[in-house]
């Protein structure tokens, strides 16, 4: 054993470089053969049942409607549009979850590190409770236990007669766009993204270029003036009509995903902060920095870099767990596509292939983006 390890260096499983190459070749070959066998098996089984992979069903009309969507979708749209709409719903709840879980997780993590007994104990209790119970249970708890005690539609809580809260959701006034509104909205978001880039790359004086930050608010004011008016929610028949609604399914799923992931994020924050050398904190203290300033200026900037690879895992888990929304009637991709569409079209294999492909694409994209970020901010040791 000792002789071998001298030749192969200090790797976990020491062997000669040429042997390693051979082993990898063999492993690759076996892997390839297994996959080929699976594919061949599936193909021959499909052929025997005179079934074939056919994605043509994506063009047929879906026929059903969705209770909540951010894109517009109706019964006469195609299965493909159903896929796109459900995909948008999945992305929406995932994006909301990633943002809140990060903020809440960072808060919980910092609280847990605090010298204050109450803060650290409360945070520790929340983290342990949330981390050690099943996520599906938590989502159902938010939906059935928390949100379903809200009042009935006809006894809604009213906020100045413009916003209403009841068991059907939070009803808010919705702006009615004028002819220029959508264009202005797009320009507004573009200006938010372009202002820092322009400041960085254009040869302007820093003080003068800071005026660029005036552009987004101006656009926002123009947007407000371009609106034709507001659509107010009003009780009509069974439910509120008009305005826009934040349904309880979305809120419950969002809360369930965010809190669960936040507990793990908190632990990552704590671990990363504790990984920063004790000497750094002592040095900061001896310079007379307060504990808050030490955290903000010395510890967190270094700890945040350490967190990124682990956070990536949590974000990817959150995206995948958004499919648990199927349990509480949130119309995301698993419920709509792997549920309704699969059942109506009967194309089980095709549908599952598509759903897996979609999740793979989202997760690979998120993972690639975070890897890029990590490369940029990781400590460069020279």
């Amino acid at each position: 054993m000792a002789g071998k390890s001298r030749k192969g260096g200090s790797s976990l499983w020491p062997m000669k470089a040429s042997h390693a190459l051979l082993m990898q070749g063999v492993a690759l070959l076996i892997g390839g053969l297994v996959i080929a066998w699976f594919a061949q098996n599936a193909a021959s089984n499909l052929a025997r049942r005179s079934m074939q992979l056919d994605f043509g069903f994506l063009g047929s009309p879906a026929g059903f409607s969705m209770p909540f969507q951010i894109l517009s979708f109706g019964p006469t749209d195609t299965y493909f549009m159903a896929l796109v709409t459900a995909f948008a719903n999945t992305l929406l709840v995932s994006a909301m979850g990633v943002v809140t879980s990060t903020v809440v997780g960072l808060g919980l993590g910092v609280m847990r590190l605090s010298q204050n007994w109450l803060l650290s104990t409360v945070s520790g209790a929340i983290v342990e409770l949330v981390r050690n119970t099943p996520q599906l249970l938590q989502i159902v708890f938010w939906y059935v236990g928390v949100l379903q005690v809200l009042p009935q539609a006809r006894q809604s809580l009213s906020f100045g007669d413009v916003a209403f809260l009841n068991i059907r959701g939070l009803f808010l006034p919705a702006p009615i766009g004028g002819s220029w509104s959508s264009l202005l909205l797009i320009t507004f978001f573009l200006s938010l993204a372009l202002a820092p880039l322009a400041r960085r790359y254009l040869p302007l004086h820093p003080r003068r270029s800071s005026l660029l930050w005036l552009v987004p608010p101006v656009l926002l004011i123009a947007l407000a003036f371009s609106l034709k008016g507001w659509s107010l929610p009003a009780l009509k028949g069974f439910n509120f009509a008009g305005g826009m609604v934040l349904p309880p399914e979305l809120v419950a799923l969002w809360a369930g995903l965010s809190l669960y992931t936040a507990a793990f994020v908190a632990e990552i924050v704590r671990a990363s902060v504790e990984a920063i050398g004790k000497g750094q904190v002592e040095a900061a203290n001896s310079l007379g920095l307060s504990s808050w300033l030490t955290l903000r200026l010395v510890v967190l900037p270094q700890a945040l870099r350490l967190m990124i690879p682990q956070l990536t895992n949590q974000y990817l888990n959150l995206i995948k767990s958004s499919s648990l929304g199927a349990a509480i009637a949130y119309p995301e991709i698993v419920q709509i596509f792997a549920g309704t569409v699969l059942n109506q079209s009967g194309r089980a294999i095709e549908v599952m292939v598509i759903v897996m492909g979609v999740f793979l694409i989202i997760n690979l994209a998120a993972s690639a983006a975070l890897a890029q970020l990590n490369e940029r901010v990781a400590l460069k040791e020279r």
Binding site: S50, F64, P67, V144, N239, A329, T340
Partner: protein
């Protein structure tokens, strides 16, 4: 690869075997029972796909024993083919996997409150053998809403289960009436009931058979009313795979046998006395005349055993949907001569 080849060889051998058997059988005019029955007999049990759990159709009792309307059909088939109603392996299937499980050969027959449709027959390569329960999609709403018919549901939200065609039927119905009805889809009935109970939805929608079961599980069943409208046709029944017509014949005629038994007043209890009947239809059904069982590749006692083990169609219905069970009126599930739709083809 070897597996595929082995299966191919097996199929060839079976084919050769069946040619030989049918050649020899021709002389005695008894056809081969077909590969599915061969496989069932060799295995010693019938693989029967049922619902994973729904009151009335298929459910497990406290000790894990399968019971239900569809389960009794499995028993009748096992009694006819294997001579013992207990020789069944029940495979609980969800709405998502039911047809794939049948296509892949994991089960021999699917008796799972599943609607017979064109797409399932043609696109999925299945055979729609027989209807054992005529259902339709209906609505259950709170009495306090004061709604009397489905046409008044404009703007309402309905809770329901995913995995069927419920949301499609509702969208079709709403479009035809120029109204909108929102559908909230749940994976499991517990959450769907909880949402309906709490007022998240104005009501609950499902097949008429299941609605009666759903109403019985509400906190105060009397607060809920099942609307008289039926917005879709849901002929629930028996599915087999394409490719073994003989097995489909057997399943079809066992269903016809159970209904014919009710037509001629043959019950689980009196089936032995009925053997002395002089009615030719009764005598043919019980295998005393005409070799009907043998012509299917079984034996002449096949239908007798099916009836003896589970009773006639009406007895099975009453056991799970009758006044002492879920209390669902027979309505169109009566025999044709009682104002219903079940009209078994004659045994002659």
């Amino acid at each position: 690869m070897t597996k595929a080849r082995r299966t191919l060889l097996k199929t060839l051998a079976l084919f050769a075997g069946s040619v030989l058997v049918s050649a020899s059988a021709m002389a005695q005019s008894i056809p081969a029972p077909g590969p599915t029955v061969e496989a069932i007999k060799k295995r010693g049990e019938l693989n029967c796909g049922v619902d994973a759990g729904i009151p009335g159709f298929a459910f497990q009792d406290a000790s894990g024993v399968w019971k239900g309307f569809d389960v009794d059909y499995c028993k009748a088939l096992a009694a006819a083919v294997l001579g013992d109603p207990a020789k069944v392996k029940y495979v609980g299937t969800t709405a998502k996997v039911r047809f794939t499980v049948l296509q892949s050969g994991e089960i021999d027959v699917l008796v799972r409150d599943s609607t017979l449709t064109f797409a399932r027959d043609i696109d999925l390569g299945l055979t729609e053998v027989a209807v054992n329960f005529y259902a339709g999609q209906g609505f259950m709403v709170r009495k306090s809403l004061g709604v009397n018919s489905a046409a008044e549901l404009n703007g309402a939200t309905m809770c329901m289960l995913t995995g069927a065609t419920l949301e499609l039927n509702i969208a079709d119905f709403a479009r035809s009436k120029g109204t909108t009805i929102n559908s909230l889809l749940f994976e499991k009935s517990e959450e769907a009931f909880a949402a309906a109970e709490s007022g998240r939805c104005d009501g609950y929608s499902d097949d008429t058979g299941s609605l009666a079961a759903a109403r019985s599980t509400m906190k105060v069943p009397d607060d809920w009313v099942i609307l008289p409208d039926v917005i879709s046709k849901e002929p629930l029944g028996l599915h087999t795979r394409d490719g073994d017509y003989r097995w489909s014949d057997i399943v079809f005629w066992v269903d016809a046998g159970l209904k014919t038994a009710e037509e001629f007043g043959i019950t689980k209890e009196n089936v032995d006395e009925k053997k002395s009947s002089s009615d030719p239809f009764v005598r043919r059904l019980l295998g005393l005349e005409g070799d009907f069982g043998k012509k299917l590749g079984l034996d002449n006692e096949a239908f007798y055993r099916a009836i003896k083990s589970v009773g006639n169609y009406g007895q099975i219905y009453d056991a799970y949907f009758g006044p002492k069970a879920l209390g669902l009126p027979r309505g169109i599930n009566n025999l044709w001569n009682q104002g219903g739709l079940h009209y078994p083809l004659p045994f002659r």
